[in-house]
């Protein structure tokens, strides 16, 4: 069942130039993104820094207002058919910086109870729920409930943040680089905790990370983003096979291998991603792509189906597109 449907999400940030005018161009942070989220799955989102992963997450929970596009939660359009407050209680977020995402003046218990209290739960019951969640994320309430964030380790703080996100009993949890700042050993524990919680509370995850190994471990489906657009989206195994989009291939080639014989010396990608300010038309990857041809710059490249539930934004995967490597159009 489709829990969340995102259609044509767009956010451009205008740049200010000089004292008055807005002539400085626009940053195309998120440009026409559409995807569905099925109940119970984990959608991994990967991409280089600045590709719009976090902006997408913030657009989903409306921390930023989108310029265009529609978000449907449980089949109801957020902001119209479903009030924002209700949508927010159903979609919660865990941030990367475990310290910055906890109020230093509140005890752990009060931080977790804040959301439920705001939504009208009496304070004693909210505290009770907070303690229950603390126990559930592996922090003994008797020892931790009255502590302040600076008295906890990074892993413990992130557990608190997870408990805080769960306090409103959401259906979707967006994990924005939630484990990226943790030590590897702690990271593994928190990942396993996330998997346990997902099963127990029947959660759906959007898992944003730049760590491809972690995404592979966590995700059912993977969405690859490049400069504010979806390059490729599909089932985890199929995307990780890396056979469809040249960018995905390059990205996965950059994964450090555990096998010394398979280590590469060559950089998989040359150059930095192009400037997201007023990007050129056509494929945004064409400047760094080994397969780029003139036709890649002609117009926007739609996502085309490439196998079961797998869609790719590349002319090579699009039969009859005119790209020399593309297969002929099926008759």
């Amino acid at each position: 069942m489709t829990l969340l449907a995102v259609n044509g999400l767009r956010k451009h940030f205008p740049l200010k130039k000089g004292l008055l005018g807005r002539g400085g161009g626009t940053v195309h942070a998120v440009d026409d993104i559409s995807f569905d989220l099925t109940e119970g799955e984990t959608l991994g989102v990967v991409g280089e820094s600045g590709c719009g992963k976090s902006t997408t997450a913030r657009l989903l929970v409306r921390l930023i207002e989108p310029d265009e596009g529609q978000i449907k939660l449980e089949g109801r359009a957020v902001g119209t058919a479903m009030p924002l407050a209700e949508a927010r209680s159903k979609m919660q977020m865990v941030f990367q910086d475990s310290f910055a995402s906890l109020n230093p003046r509140l005890t752990v218990e009060d931080s977790i109870a804040f959301g439920p209290v705001v939504h009208g739960l009496p304070r004693p019951r909210a505290r009770e729920r907070a303690r229950g969640l603390l126990a559930r994320v592996g922090l003994e309430p008797a020892r931790f409930a009255n502590r302040y964030p600076h008295e906890l380790s990074g892993g413990q703080r992130q557990r608190v943040n997870i408990a805080r996100a769960l306090a409103l009993q959401p259906r979707i949890v967006i994990l924005d680089e939630a484990v990226s700042a943790l030590d590897k050993s702690i990271e593994a524990q928190v990942l396993n905790l996330l998997l346990d919680l997902k099963a127990e509370f029947k959660l759906t995850y959007i898992f944003i990370s730049h760590d491809l190994n972690v995404v592979r471990y966590m995700s059912d489906r993977v969405m690859v983003m490049y400069l504010g657009k979806i390059a490729e989206i599909g089932p985890s195994e199929s995307v990780f096979a890396g056979t469809h989009h040249p960018y995905t291939r390059a990205l996965f080639a950059a994964m450090p291998s555990m096998d010394p014989d398979r280590r590469t010396q060559q950089p998989p990608l040359i150059g930095d991603p192009p400037n997201p300010i007023n990007p050129p038309p056509g494929c945004r990857f064409k400047g760094r792509c080994a397969h780029a041809e003139d036709i890649c710059g002609r117009g926007d490249i739609a996502l085309t189906t490439a196998g079961a539930a797998h869609r790719v934004a590349c002319l090579i995967a699009q039969p009859g597109s005119g790209h020399s490597s593309a297969p002929a159009r099926a008759a």
């Binding site: 921390l63 977020m93 109020n103 805080r164 050993s185 396993n192």
Partner: protein, 294 residues
């Protein structure tokens, strides 16, 4: 859950204590700050209980005993140009001087804090409107502004307090605004917004507690400036009116006696110096104690 146990064991063995408790205990260990706080406290008590402490009536003058030196019989700290007992006048003067030093800063803390937090939290046009208006007041040096407002309103304690409040609103609002802007963009405020909380709840729970600390410290550093400005206004005849005892005014009226009896003439100035010095050191101490959060 052995994995969890491992994580818990790596935790620092920090005792579970509150932020303010930690700040207090750090403050109490700072001997200089404690000493300054005690001096201020002593002066406040002195002001409150002035009628019982002062040996004489501060308004009782005597033509024959003018400008007695320090230690003269009946006048432990000498007498002023109208033969009034200096010790009693200094003790009673603490009342007006402290009120004029503290009340404007408190009022400005309320108004400026409110303006600054509103501007910082709302951002955008509201911010521009509030902060640019405040910048207009910034265009004048604070002494000049205080003198101009007091002069326009006329002499008097209430008018002096009002003008000093207006002088201190802009700096406090600016500090409150910049701290709020910083706090507002932190993840925990984002998380609170994502949990569906309204602006009021966010400001009350997440902004106020984190903004008022630094703003309060800044305001304590203004206390000494305010004391001196208030004394200055009285010195210029724009604050307290004679014969009321107030340190700034006493300094003014004794000015003529500086060649006859310099030590007595310097006493009110010494008191102003002592109080502002203690306020300054105290605010430094509070700032240091609050800094070591992480």
């Amino acid at each position: 859950m052995s994995a969890v146990a491992a994580d818990i064991q790596t935790a620092p063995a920090a005792p579970a204590q509150g932020y303010w408790r930690a700040v207090t205990s750090r403050l109490l260990r700072d001997k200089l700050t404690v000493a300054c706080a005690l001096v201020i406290l002593g002066l406040i008590l002195m002001a409150v209980f002035a009628p019982w402490i002062a040996p004489d009536d501060p308004l009782k003058s005597s033509i024959f005993k003018r400008l007695q030196p320090i230690g003269a019989p009946g006048f432990p700290l000498g007498s002023d140009e109208l033969g009034r007992d200096m010790l009693s006048r200094l003790i009673f003067g603490a009342r007006l001087s402290l009120v004029m030093g503290i009340v404007p800063v408190l009022c400005a803390l309320g108004i400026g804090g409110l303006l600054g937090i509103t501007a910082g939290f709302m951002g955008g046009r509201t911010n521009t409107a509030i902060m640019r208006t405040i910048d207009v007041f910034y265009a004048f040096p604070s002494v000049l502004l205080a003198v101009a407002i007091s002069g326009a309103l006329g002499a008097g304690v209430l008018n002096a307090i009002l003008s000093l409040t207006i002088v201190f609103i802009p700096p406090i609002a600016r500090v409150a605004e910049s701290v709020t802007t910083q706090v507002r963009s932190l993840d925990y405020v984002e998380a609170a917004r994502a949990s569906g909380a309204g602006s009021f709840a966010i400001i009350r729970v997440h902004i106020l507690g984190n903004v008022m600390g630094p703003v309060f410290v800044y305001a304590t550093s203004l206390l000494s400036v305010c004391m001196i400005l208030a004394a200055g206004l009285s010195f210029l005849g724009l604050g307290t009116k004679p014969p009321l005892p107030e340190w700034g005014l006493m300094l003014n009226t004794l000015r003529t006696a500086i060649f006859q009896n310099p030590w007595v003439a310097a006493l009110p100035g010494l008191m102003i110096f002592l109080v502002s010095f203690c306020f300054n050191l105290m605010s430094d101490g509070v700032r240091a104690a609050m800094d070591v959060t992480r």
